[in-house]
Symmetry: C2
Subunit: 510 residues, 2 copies
């Protein structure tokens, strides 16, 4: 039976809220994809300034929703006000950053190799290259960022910046939040005189709509943040199409934190307390949550473990995003607690609502290496601390890890030689390497990589946060001996000096 | 039974030449992949100048082989001397171009967002990004370019330039050519004091070695030029690994040529003659061969058809690359000759050796649209001319085409309005759009795209010819708050002014 309506759920109570919400059907998928395809040529031809203004208008429209947006997101996610106000700021900041990127124009990767009519033995034709957008993009809203990774999140912002219409499959955990944001985007589309098909929004529970969206022949790429199973399922659909398409799925990571001996000896207790602070932020529901700690046994480790145990025991229960996520968390924690060679170091208080109590486990390198499941993500505030007897064991554990979004070094100057030895391993495992911080803060900027080798993502060649994310939705086209009348304006000689960098005969010019 | 030796075949006669050649086994695949993996960290750490010098040394070593290389390639491919001397020049030119690209350093995509310690509400950490190589790359030699797309061809050159060790699976149609080039690369590796594992070379017929190579967990990307079936098979293996990897397969295209009304009326006969010249070059064995011509019926079309028929009837037989390719060509031509609504316009002379006689077919838009097989590549000098009644039919045919490497416009000024209307369609179909030329000359430069939407390639986001090809083998890594001692040298403040461009706080600086 096809469900025709569903409800917004209050995360804290599990109760339904508001009116029943109509569920879209497969005919809506086809309709929105057709509209996106029809809008593509018009939208991709928008001048840089117009496209930038559109992105900024979306940000303005989101802010203009005001309190109802924050209230809906709080109710549907269980996340606190400060976090969601911050996330709204980040969402608007992302849109504005991409507006500035669109204006700067480097994303076009303009390249010009002028004709060499007198070259022997053969003349060289005039060749000019630019990046063009791929086409309509499917974006999946994420449960853990109802604003910054959802309807108008980073995937949507970067795809729109690239010139791609977007069809969002909203996350069923926050339909009211999604509808408010979708309305803001639709108002920006109208205000900027763009075709309605530039943005579409699909609503419904289950996997049927999303699967149909990825399979639709008019969709040319997919952005997804969520579970490994979900990302792999979408990748399979995308690969089995008549025309396979790229899937940018950000899926799963335990984000190893390495405690280097000297740092551990100097401030083991302080690190233990700070670690639990990072682990329990937002109920541990960050992609970059520190789910794995690696330390070489020695001075300071006991202090670290003691402080971490104390901090986790004092951790207050926090509402998780959905009942399903809470159930998966409890199952994952129970599996760790029962695993061979694993001890429970401490647990936080559990609430009566769907609150996952924070949980810390300790094991040694041998047990960890013997059981790959110990290195899999348990989404929530659970982490495994692995004690290594020596550098050789640490290196074995590192080399055996799957791909990660981040790897963190806590280190002092005396640790630099060891850090330099493990750095090449970390580079092959992670998209971001950080020193003396915690991975849970992801800065939205130009030098950010929120990506990494499989299974952290399905495509390590990119990032889903930061300005480089625009490159995911572009492909190069070369124009040979086209007249100035036919050439895209930005590739004509007349456009030189428009602020976009150009590679002319191999020389970068501003 | 596992074959242990095979023979080099003289293309013209089908006879075996030289001593039996030992066939590598699966243990050799594992050995070479392990060596490549072990060499990776050393090789990727080479300074730009050292890596550039290595690429140039390979070019020098190839030239130093001298006449034996040209003789082997002529014998094994059946291609004439001038073509192979030109191809050798192109091969060396590619290596030298990538040397200059490595030196210039833009491929590193250096990005620096300095710390903002006083930013409210939260300080910004120091973030620095560079591209690093993916790891060992598998490259498949192509039958139709024994030098420029094979052992030391474009894929190998761009992967080595990126800092990736390469394991080549040589094409069994030219084992002696491949062995000579592999020897040249090995000498360059030794001369530059690089680990032997930077380059490996696998030899043997059949698909077993190549399949094992793509499946090897140490391989991180694949470069391939060949058939659609071959490329898709490799893509399937790559996707079904525990850790899927990107496959850059350049597979299949018919490279539509559009004859615009005014150009056709002005010089129909000249276009017909020139078309057959492009079609029959190298026995039609180019990826960019013009296998499809689209014209709106009108003045000049008869002259075009008449001149093309005359030219193709006068075309001399040319030896094809292998007996298998010749057999497939004959089968494809026979299928076209027997297809509903298709007329044979003319055929060239057939030789006694494995020579595919050139063949031209004519059909109309309705018959073409009714039979998708008419739009599939027949590798060799065969082409289908489709007459369209009007612009609407032309647009229908264009919209129904699969992805292409190239699309060509023959046009005069009076055709510009029509060309402008079809250009957006062509951009969505092809990697390169050219005016008043023929697609068979592929310039190796910065603004070249030799790529295009599926099935022209398996990944339209890239090119396999030109300097942008290096990007295929790189991924971004971000470094947060790392000390100058630990940062990669090129990301330290001390390296500013080394010639590489940097995006600093979003501003491009040279």
């Amino acid at each position: 039976m096809h469900m025709t309506e569903f409800r917004s759920i209050v995360a804290e109570t599990g109760a339904a809220h508001g009116d029943p919400i109509a569920v879209h059907g497969l005919e809506d998928v086809a309709r929105l994809c057709a509209a996106a395809d029809a809008a593509f040529d018009t939208y991709r031809a928008t001048p840089r300034e117009a496209r930038a203004a559109f992105l900024e208008r979306i940000a303005d429209e989101i802010l203009a929703i005001g309190e109802p947006l924050i209230a809906a997101a709080m109710r549907e996610s269980g996340l606190p006000r400060a976090r969601l106000e911050g996330e709204r700021g980040r969402t608007m900041g992302q849109l504005r950053m991409f507006a500035s990127v669109v204006r700067a124009g480097a994303w076009q990767q303009l390249r010009i190799d002028p004709a060499l009519p007198d070259r022997a033995p053969l003349p060289r034709p005039d060749l000019r290259l630019r990046m063009i957008p791929l086409g309509p993009v499917a974006v999946f809203g994420a449960s853990n960022f109802p604003l910054a990774f959802s309807t108008a999140g980073g995937d949507t912002a970067s795809a729109l910046a690239a010139g791609c219409p977007v069809v969002v499959k909203g996350h069923p955990a926050h339909p009211e939040t999604g509808a408010l944001v979708a309305g803001a985007i639709a108002r920006a589309v109208a205000a900027c005189d763009l075709p309605e098909g530039v943005f579409g929004h699909l609503v419904g529970p289950g996997n049927e709509l999303g699967a149909a969206l990825v399979a639709d022949p008019r969709i040319t790429a997919v952005g997804f943040t969520g579970s490994r199973a979900g990302g792999l399922a979408l990748a399979r659909i995308a690969q089995n199409r008549d025309v396979p398409i790229p899937v940018y799925a950000e899926m799963s990571a335990v984000n190893p934190v390495l405690l280097m001996p000297s740092a551990l000896a100097a401030r083991g207790a302080a690190l233990g307390t700070a670690f639990v602070g990072s682990l329990t932020m937002g109920a541990g529901q960050f992609c970059t949550n520190p789910g794995l700690v690696l330390a070489i046994a020695g001075e300071g480790l006991d202090a670290f473990l003691g402080a971490a145990r104390e901090a986790v025991s004092a951790a207050q229960p926090q509402v998780m995003l959905t009942a399903g996520i809470h159930a998966a968390y409890e199952k994952g924690v129970a599996a760790l607690a029962g695993a061979a060679g694993v001890e429970t170091l401490g647990k936080g208080a559990e609430g009566t609502s769907p609150c996952g109590g924070a949980a810390l486990f300790v094991t040694d390198a041998k047990a960890f290496l013997a059981n790959p499941a110990l290195g899999h993500e348990v989404f929530g505030s659970s982490s495994v601390i692995v004690t290594c007897a020596d550098e050789a064991e640490l290196v074995s554990v590192l080399k055996g890890l799957e791909g990660q979004l981040t790897a963190t070094l806590h280190m002092d100057q005396a640790d630099e030689a060891l850090a330099a030895r493990v750095l090449p391993i970390l580079e092959r495992k992670a998209g971001r390497i950080l020193a003396n911080g915690w991975p849970t803060g992801v800065e939205v900027c130009h030098a950010m990589v929120h990506g990494g080798p499989f299974p952290a993502t399905s495509d390590a060649r990119t990032t889903s946060v930061g300005s480089m994310a625009i490159d995911r939705f572009l492909r190069p086209v070369s124009y040979q001996n086209l007249s100035a009348e036919l050439l895209p304006a930005e590739l004509t000689d007349a456009a030189f000096g428009d602020g976009a960098p150009r590679l002319i005969d191999g020389k970068l010019t501003l």
